[in-house]
Subunit: 219 residues, 3 copies
Amino acid sequence: MSTSQDFPTRKSSWKRFDVTVLYVFDLLGTFAFAVSGAIAAVRKKMDLYGILVLATVTAVGGGTIRDVLVGRVPPFIFRDITYFFVSITAGLLVFFFHKYVERRFKLLLIMDAIGLGTFTVIGISVGLKFDIGYFGAVFLGVMTATAGGMMRDVLQGEVPLVLQREIYASACIAGGLIFVCLDILNIVPDINVFISAAAVIAIRMISITKNWNLPKPKI
Amino acid sequence: MSTSQDFPTRKSSWKRFDVTVLYVFDLLGTFAFAVSGAIAAVRKKMDLYGILVLATVTAVGGGTIRDVLVGRVPPFIFRDITYFFVSITAGLLVFFFHKYVERRFKLLLIMDAIGLGTFTVIGISVGLKFDIGYFGAVFLGVMTATAGGMMRDVLQGEVPLVLQREIYASACIAGGLIFVCLDILNIVPDINVFISAAAVIAIRMISITKNWNLPKPKI
Amino acid sequence: MSTSQDFPTRKSSWKRFDVTVLYVFDLLGTFAFAVSGAIAAVRKKMDLYGILVLATVTAVGGGTIRDVLVGRVPPFIFRDITYFFVSITAGLLVFFFHKYVERRFKLLLIMDAIGLGTFTVIGISVGLKFDIGYFGAVFLGVMTATAGGMMRDVLQGEVPLVLQREIYASACIAGGLIFVCLDILNIVPDINVFISAAAVIAIRMISITKNWNLPKPKI
């Protein structure tokens, strides 16, 4: 959820390769998030404009808030227009073929998990670059990954799903803690982002299979 | 939705005139948007404070988000206090005379359309000044014109109207494309803003008369 | 709702003392606001993550928006991590002992009023430091004190309470006007913040006892 210059910059021999991979993952996640926004809009009987707005907000909302919070303005969406086009393409696809897209449910879950992991590690990287400390960086990573979906839910008039059930933000937090531990152990960021993103994706996918949830308070 | 120094700056012999006209249009639009926010608050049985907040948020919310996104902080509302006073005046008018104001329905629609056109072209001008490209600038213009109304709807617990029906944001997009075409053809901004704003206003008014809507997906 | 360096800086012999007192008040208010967010989350049957998010958003949301609006980024939450820890501690307390916490209703109201007063005067101080004028500064103070609670209500799917009834934001406005009057009379900020915060707290507490409300429009 960010332009290529935001990715970790410590040198490594396979740098060009891994930035490209992270960028592809980032766009995959953007697409999946946009699809989830567009599907929500279809269900709420919004018109074409509403579908495109919910697609875009869900996909780029988290990264935009992240950039505003660290003072990196104009935010990434204005510096790399690709994210807009991916979001709008996803919205149009859902508009025309939403029955077909919704049936690809498992594929969407996997892509969504990829987005979750990628957005988290990019958010953490940006936080560390802007020197806000480990705690703040993990917070920023979780926000990058989840704020877009929260805005989607608020705009469709519902209480954000992420606050209610499933292991979603918790997967980001766990991945963020792994990122911090590996960084303290001096693992280079180029490798760390992949391990930590993979951890987020794995935790998210396993939690779906196992139907895990966070505890709720006893009432 | 902006201070006078934000308006297009390329020289023209009637510059002082057109900046003043745009500023008057801007304040008219601010007033109309504030009235729509205040009326929504009255319908939701909010108290005086709620009415003033919804008036202000609807009127200046879009421009404030625009300024934050391009890094122009403190935003325009803190640099030209007139927008606050217009919003609060509109809110007080609705508080005391809301039956009378609501009956001026057609006048409010026209003023709202003027606001829509004016906010769009000012947003685009700001975007181009901050060098975010045509695509980003049109996006910023549409957001300047529509984000305040979306915040109004979210605060009153409803799904934003602009996402559901009517030609509203679409009129801004059409006007934005006209702005971009004319700018590529080297029309001076001082004239361009008027043509493009007029296009937005015309499209909006015609769409109301004709009862136009955007397509919805087949379910 | 701010780091210690944000507090009024004009010299006074008891400076260290009053900054510490204001900081303690600030943290007390943060705790009370976080508790109100966490209790709302429990009532909406959110999970542990939702409780922690609503606690944090309610407690630090207003100050974060304030900092973004004046361009002080990264905002205070990333510069003094104490606010995070207080919010999360409050959230965990409510998660485990919410019945016990809710029964301390009067104490919570008093702490909430302390937060209201403290957040207001800190917001005004920040506004004056960033030179946005008295009117803008009072606006910023009220927003610092009330925006977090509004975000809490939107996230739980409800129309913000502050827009509907009770003397809440109005107490902030009254305190803000007192702050402005005393500042014009050249009262040193170190003393002014205490008088004005006390005024907010007193008005809020009296209005609860007397069951005061703002007028609503006649329909």
